[in-house]
Symmetry: C2
Subunit: 746 residues, 2 copies
C-alpha cells in the first residue's frame, strides 16, 4: 500500500448537505436535511488548488509501473526527509529541556513522529494566521508534553514560538509556559494540563464544527470543514472525563474527530501495569469509535500516516488511533517512567547527538531542509485560507442572509441590540423560581443570538434550560440542533463547553446542572476562567432550599468555592429582573465565564428596587427608608434570601427603624466598583450589618465588617420540605428580624 | 437449569491462602503467598451451619427424578412467595411516595425484584446487628432509589426502618431521608445520591475485604469473607467516576464485587437514547469484568438468581450484571421517564392495587408471609454471625498475635500510643518540603498503625506517600499490600477511600494528589465529610510555589473552597512539626476527613515556636517580642508563607517594632476554640494585622479584621521558577515588610 498516496489524496469528508437550500435565519433549517450522509466529493470552491496545495505534488494518476516507481522513490525520499525532521524535533526538545532545566521531555520524545507528521502532513493551518477560521484544530490533552507542540509550532513557522521562546521554556512571562495556554501562545487552541480535559475540549471543538457545518455549508460553498486532532496519554485515558467525552463523541458520531493515544506504557509512578490493565481499544470500540492500532511508529512512520488516512475516510465514527511509542525515545531513559520529566546528562546528550548524527551542531540547530519542508505545509495552509476567502466571498454573494448570520458569529456572536430581548418582570407577574425566570431569559436570547448552544447533564427539565422550538444536537440526525443532551456527565459537559467556546466561532455555550454538582466539573470551570472561555454555567437548586433530596443535593460550600476562582463571575439573582441582569453580563462578556446560581423554590417576579442596572454593579441598594440619614442597619442578601431581608426590613421599619436592604448579587462585580460607590452602598460607619445567604459564611465578613453578623449555613443541609429546612437553619423573616434586633440593641 | 439450586448451594469463593501460616505483625505476610488462587471450599468453621442457614433447606443431594420434582415444586412455591414479596415491595413504595408527596419511585418500582432477591436470598446480613463485621455490603449507587432500600430493609427487619419511618419519607429529622445516609439510617453502608459515587464506594468496600482477608484469614479460620453488592443506574454508568472505579476493580480482580446495572433505558430527560448509545457490556468486558445480561426479570426472577449464582462462582473478575427493567413498573407511568420521580394519581393507585390483588388492604400493608420469608434470611444472618463469633474465638485462641492486631482494627485502628511514633524536628535538621516531612510522618505511622492504607493518583513520588517496605495492593498478587496505585483517577480514588473508611474495619485510608486536582474529587471529599469517613487527603504542591508547571497546576482558590466544606479539617502546616501535628489530628479523628496541604518547595524543618500542640488548636502564637504589651502588628501566615512572616517580623523587630507572628494552620480548629483563646491569639484591639497566604484571599477578613491587609493571590498563577513566581505575586520578606510598614504608618 502506498500509504502517503492514500493519505494525501483523500479529500477530507465534509458534511455537505445533499440538498441545495437551507434557511438558517431561525437557527435551524426549515427545509431539514433528511439525507445526511456525508459527501466525499471535494467542495467545489476548494477542489482545484486544494489538491495541489494540500501536499507536495505526487504523481499518482496512472497505474503504470513507472509512475509506481516514482511514487516509491518519492516516498522513500519523503520518508528520509521526514526522519530528519523527526530527529530535529527530538534534538530541539532535548536542547530546550536542558537549557530550561525544566519540562517534560518523555512524552515529547516518544511522540516526535506523531507531532511531526501532524504538523508536516496531516493538519491544515496557516501559521501566518493562527486564527484562520477553517483551520484544523489541535489539542494536546497530555499538556505536559507541550514541548512537542512548541517545537513543531516553531518548525511550522508560528511567529509565537521562536528559538528564543524555546530557550525560555517555563520561564516567567515566556510564551512557552509549562503547559500549553491558549491565552499565552498564539496557535495553541485550548489550555491543557489537568489530564483528560483536552479530550473533552476536542469533542467540543468537533461538535462546534459539525454544528456550524450543518447550519451554513452549501453544496456549492463549503465554509466550515475541518478536522479536530487530539493527543492523549495514559493519564487522559484513565481520567473519567475522557470516557464521558468519548462516549458522547461516539453517540454524536463526530467522525472528523481523531484521538491519538500515546500508548507508551508509562506513567509517573511507573509502568502502566501498576494500575491500568483494561483493553482500551475495546473500550473505545464499545463507545462507538473507529479504532486503529499503530504498532511501530518509530520504525515505520507510514503506518501512522495510513492510520490517519483511514481516519480521514471514516464517515460515521470518531477515530481512536492507539500509537505504541517509547517514552524518552532516543535518550538513555528510553522506555522508563523517569523519562517523564527532568533533564538529560551531558553524556546522554552526547550519545543522542551521535545517534542522529548531530555531533557538530550548535544547540537549537534546525536543518534548513526541515524549515523548508514545513514551509510547504505553511504554504498549503496559506493557499487554503485564500481559497476559503474566495469561497466566503462567493457565499456572501449567493447566500447573503446566511452570510449575515455567519458574520455575526465571526464577530463574536452578539447581534446589535441582543440585550433588548431580555424580558423584564413587574410586581404583578406570577411568582416563579429564578430557574423559571432563567428559562424565559434563555429562550428569548435564543431567538436573537445565533450562537447560543448548550444543555444540561440530564436535568434539562429541572434546570429549565431547554430551548423550545429548537432541535437536539446529534449528527447525522440534527447536527444543526442547539439543545445538547449531555447525559449525566457534568465534567465532560463543562470540558466540551470550553471547546465550543474556544472554537472561536461566536458560539455561546451554556452548561447546566444542580449547583451541588458543580463539584463534578470544578476543574473544567476553573479552566474556563483561565482560558477565557465565556461559558455560562446555569446552576439551579442553589441552596438547602432544594428541600427533600437532602444534603447530598443541597449545596452549602459551593458559592464560596466558586467565588474564590479568579476571573469567574458568580451571580445569585433574587428575582426575574436580577436574573435578566445576570444574563446581560454573562452573555455580554465573551471572554469571562459566569455562574448563574438559581433557586428551585419560587420567589417574587420583581422585588421593588431590584434592577438589571444594579446587577451590573454587582451590589446595590434595593430599599432604604433612611431618607437623608444613614441607616441604622443594613441587611445584605442574595438570591432567594433577598426577599427574606425585605420582609424583615419591612417589619423593622414598621417599628421605626431605619433599614437598608442591599443585594450583593455578584461579589466580583461589586469588588470592581470604585471605592466611593462601595462606600455609598455599604458605608463603613454603619457598623450593624447582617448578611443573609443560605450557604457557607466564608467570605461574607468582607461585607458585614467586624461588628456585623454573617447568617449562613455552617453545616450540611437536611432532607425535608423546603420551608422546614429553611426554618431549621434559621432562614425565616422572623429569625432575621430577631438577629437584626439583637444587633440593633447591642 | 435449576437456578435457585445453583444459587443457593454455591458457597462464596473465599480468599483462603493455600499455605498454613502467615505472619501479620508487620502488616504483610513474611511467608508470602506465592500461590494465591482462591479456594472454593467452604471455610471450615462456617461450613456446616452455613449451608443450612444460608437458605431454606433444599433437597438437592441425590440426582434422582423424584428429588428433582421436589426441587421444582419448591421452586414453584418459592417463586410464588417471592412474587408476593415483590408485589409488597412495590405497594409499599407507592404508599410511601404518595404519603410523603415526594421521592423517586421509578427506579424503585423497576428494581423491586432485584431488591427483594438481594435481601431475601442473596445477601448475608443480620438485621438485628447491622454492624456485624462479616456482613455483605450493599451500596445503592443510584441513591435516588432509596425507597427500594428502605422498603427492603423494613421487610428484612432492620429496626431503623419501621412503617412509621416509611410514612416520614423525606421529612425533616426522619430516618428515611431523600437519599440514603449512613449516618442517619443504621444498615445503610454509605451515603449516596451524587451519581457514580456509590460504584467507587463499593470498589473501596470490596478492596477492604480482599485486603483484610489476605492479611487475616487462615485455612482453618476464615474471619473476613463477604461480598459487596452495588446497584447502579444509567446515570452512574455515564459518570466518569464509575468508569475509573470499574477500571480499577477489573485491574485489582475484585471478584467478590457484584455490580447490578439497572438498565431501564430512562433518565430524567427522557429515553437514554438521547445521550447514551454505547455498548456498556462491552465496555465492562474491556475493563476486565465478568458480564451477564438478565433480559426479563419482571417475568423470570430466576434469571437474575442465575446471574447472581454465576457471579458467586467467579474467581477472577468482578461481575457486572445488566438487568433490563421497566421504570415505574406496575404504574401507568411504566416505561416513561416521568416515572423517575413524583406521586401517583388515585386512579393509578387503584389500578396498581387491582393488578396485584391488593384492593382491600390498608396503605402500608405487609403480607405476614412476606415478613416470615424475610425472617428466614434474618435468622440465617443471625446464625452466620453466631458462627462467625465462634470462628473468631477459635481464631483468637489459635492466632493470638493476629487476633490482637485484628482487635485493634475492630476498635477503630489506633493502637495505644500510636501518636508517639510521629517524628519531631529541630532547627538543625536539614530543610525539606512539607511533603518531605509528611513522607516521614506517614511512614512512621505505617509502622504502628495496622490499618493505614492508601496511595496517590499516579503522583506517589511527587506527593511522597509511598509506604516503604510495604507491597502494592493487588489481587491476587499481593492483596495484603497497602500501597494503592490508583492511576490517574482522582475521583475514583476519593470515592474508593470513602468505601475503605466506611467498611468499618479500622482501615485508615489516605489519598494523595496535587492540591489543584482536589477539583477532580471535590464531590467525593464532600461526601467524606457528610458520611463521617475519616479519609486523609494529602494534597501537595499547594500553591503557586509549585513553579514551572504553571497556572493549570497551581492551586489558588482551592484552600478557600475546601475550608468552606462543613466538617472537613484543612491543614496547611509550615514545617516538620506542624506537619506532624496535622497528622496527629487527622489520624486521631476517625469520623472526620482531613486535608493536609503540603508544599513542593523546601521550608525550614522547624520554625522556632511552632508545635504539635499549637496545631491542635488550629491557630497559635509562634513568636512575639511584645513582652507584657500588646504587639503593634500581627503577621498571620500558613504553610510555606509562615517563614516569610517570621523573616519579615525579624526585620521589623530589628527596627524596634513589637511584632507577633501567628500560625493559622487549621481554621476550623481555631474557630472551635473558646473566645478567650481566640482573643488571646488575635486581640481585637490590635487592629494592624496582615495575613500572608499564597492563595485566594477569600475568608481571611475574618482573622485580619477591617483594618488589616489580606495578602493573597487574586489571579491565576504563572509558569516560572518558584522564586520568580513568588516574587511576581509579592511573596517575599521584603514585600511583606513593606506591607506591614505601610500599615504601621497609617
Amino acid at each position: 500500500m502506498t500509504i502517503s498516496n492514500l493519505l494525501f489524496n483523500t479529500p477530507p469528508p465534509s458534511l455537505v448537505p445533499q440538498q441545495t437550500h437551507t434557511r438558517l435565519s431561525k437557527r435551524f433549517p426549515t427545509c431539514q436535511l433528511k439525507s445526511t450522509t456525508t459527501s466525499l466529493t471535494t467542495p467545489t470552491h476548494l477542489s482545484k488548488d486544494y489538491k495541489l496545495s494540500w501536499l507536495p505534488e505526487l504523481k499518482t494518476a496512472s497505474g503504470s509501473e513507472s509512475s509506481g516507481e516514482i511514487i516509491q522513490q518519492d516516498e522513500l525520499f519523503q520518508d528520509l526527509v521526514d526522519r530528519r525532521g523527526v530527529d530535529n524535533v527530538r534534538m530541539l526538545i532535548v536542547d530546550s529541556v536542558n537549557h530550561a532545566k525544566a519540562g517534560h521531555p518523555g512524552m515529547a520524545l516518544g511522540m516526535a513522529e506523531v507531532g511531526y507528521v501532524l504538523y508536516r502532513h496531516a493538519m491544515r493551518y496557516n501559521p501566518r494566521n493562527p486564527k484562520w477560521f477553517n483551520r484544523d484544530r489541535f489539542v494536546l490533552s497530555a499538556g505536559h508534553g507541550c514541548l512537542l507542540q512548541y517545537v513543531c509550532m516553531h518548525l511550522a513557522g508560528f511567529e509565537s514560538v521562536q528559538i528564543e521562546d524555546l530557550k525560555h521554556l517555563c520561564k516567567l512571562g515566556s510564551r512557552t509556559p509549562g503547559h500549553p495556554e491558549n491565552v499565552v501562545t498564539a496557535g495553541v487552541e485550548v489550555t491543557t494540563g489537568p489530564l483528560g480535559q483536552g479530550v473533552a475540549n476536542a469533542v467540543g471543538l468537533a461538535l462546534a464544527e459539525a454544528h456550524l457545518a450543518a447550519r451554513f455549508n452549501k453544496p456549492d460553498a463549503v465554509i466550515i470543514d475541518h478536522r479536530t486532532f487530539c493527543i492523549m496519554g495514559d493519564g487522559c485515558a484513565m481520567e473519567g472525563i475522557s470516557n464521558e467525552a468519548a462516549s458522547l463523541a461516539g453517540h454524536w458520531k463526530l467522525n472528523k474527530l481523531i484521538l491519538i493515544y500515546d500508548d507508551n506504557h508509562n506513567t509517573i509512578d511507573g509502568d502502566t501495569s501498576l494500575s491500568f490493565s483494561e483493553d482500551i481499544t475495546a473500550r473505545f470500540s464499545a463507545l462507538g469509535w473507529n479504532t486503529i492500532t499503530v504498532d511501530n511508529i518509530h520504525d515505520d512512520m507510514g503506518s501512522f500516516k495510513g492510520a490517519l488516512s483511514s481516519a480521514f475516510n471514516e464517515t460515521e465514527r470518531p477515530t481512536f488511533i492507539k500509537v505504541k511509542t517509547i517514552i524518552g525515545k532516543l535518550s538513555e531513559k528510553e522506555g522508563k517512567s523517569k523519562a517523564h520529566h527532568g533533564t538529560f546528562s551531558d553524556d546522554d546528550v552526547k550519545q543522542m547527538r551521535a545517534r542522529v548524527k548531530w555531533e557538530d551542531r550548535e544547540p537549537f540547530h534546525v536543518v534548513p531542509t526541515v524549515y523548508k519542508e514545513m514551509e510547504i505545509q505553511a504554504e498549503c495552509g496559506a493557499n487554503l485560507e485564500k481559497d476559503w476567502n474566495t469561497t466566503l466571498r462567493y457565499f456572501q454573494r449567493k447566500y447573503p442572509k446566511d452570510a449575515e448570520e455567519f458574520k455575526i458569529l465571526l464577530n463574536g456572536g452578539l447581534p446589535l441590540g441582543w440585550d433588548n430581548s431580555l424580558p423584564r418582570w413587574s410586581k404583578s407577574d406570577p411568582v416563579d423560581a429564578t430557574r423559571g425566570y432563567s428559562e424565559k431569559c434563555l429562550n428569548r436570547l435564543a431567538e436573537v443570538i445565533p450562537g447560543l448552544i448548550g444543555g444540561s447533564a440530564d436535568l434539562a427539565s429541572s434546570n429549565k434550560v431547554h430551548l423550545h422550538d429548537f432541535d437536539d444536537f446529534h449528527q447525522p440526525n440534527s447536527p444543526w440542533g442547539c439543545n445538547v443532551r449531555y447525559g449525566v456527565r457534568e465534567h465532560a459537559m463543562a470540558g466540551i463547553s470550553n471547546g465550543i467556546a474556544l472554537h472561536g466561532s461566536g458560539l455561546i455555550p451554556f452548561a447546566a446542572t444542580f449547583l451541588t454538582f458543580s463539584d463534578y466539573m470544578k476543574n473544567a470551570i476553573r479552566l474556563s476562567a483561565l482560558s477565557h472561555a465565556g461559558v455560562i454555567y446555569i446552576l439551579t437548586h442553589d441552596s438547602i432550599g432544594l428541600g427533600e433530596d437532602g444534603p447530598t443535593h443541597q449545596p452549602v460550600e459551593h458559592l464560596a468555592g466558586l467565588r474564590a476562582v479568579p476571573r469567574l463571575l458568580v451571580f445569585r439573582p433574587a428575582d426575574g429582573n436580577e436574573t435578566a441582569g445576570a444574563y446581560m453580563v454573562a452573555v455580554g462578556n465573551r471572554n469571562t465565564p459566569s455562574v448563574i446560581a438559581l433557586s428551585r423554590q419560587k420567589v417574587a417576579a420583581h422585588i421593588e428596587g431590584t434592577s438589571v442596572e444594579g446587577v451590573m454593579k454587582g451590589g446595590y441598594i434595593v430599599s432604604d427608608n433612611s431618607g437623608d440619614s444613614l441607616p441604622e442597619i443594613i441587611l445584605i442578601g442574595t438570591g432567594s434570601e433577598l426577599c427574606l431581608c425585605e420582609g424583615s426590613a419591612e417589619q423593622l421599619r414598621s417599628e421605626g427603624r431605619r433599614v437598608r436592604v442591599v443585594s450583593l448579587v455578584c461579589w466580583q462585580l461589586f469588588d470592581a466598583q470604585p471605592c466611593e460607590y462601595k462606600e455609598h452602598v455599604l458605608p463603613r460607619s454603619v457598623r450593624k450589618r447582617v448578611s443573609v445567604e443560605a450557604g457557607s459564611p466564608l467570605g461574607w465578613r468582607e461585607y458585614v465588617g467586624e461588628d456585623g453578623v454573617v447568617h449562613g449555613v455552617r453545616d450540611f443541609g437536611a432532607s425535608g420540605a423546603y420551608l422546614d429546612t429553611f426554618r431549621k437553619f434559621g432562614f425565616t423573616e422572623e429569625n432575621i428580624t430577631r438577629i437584626a434586633k439583637s444587633l440593633l440593641e447591642k
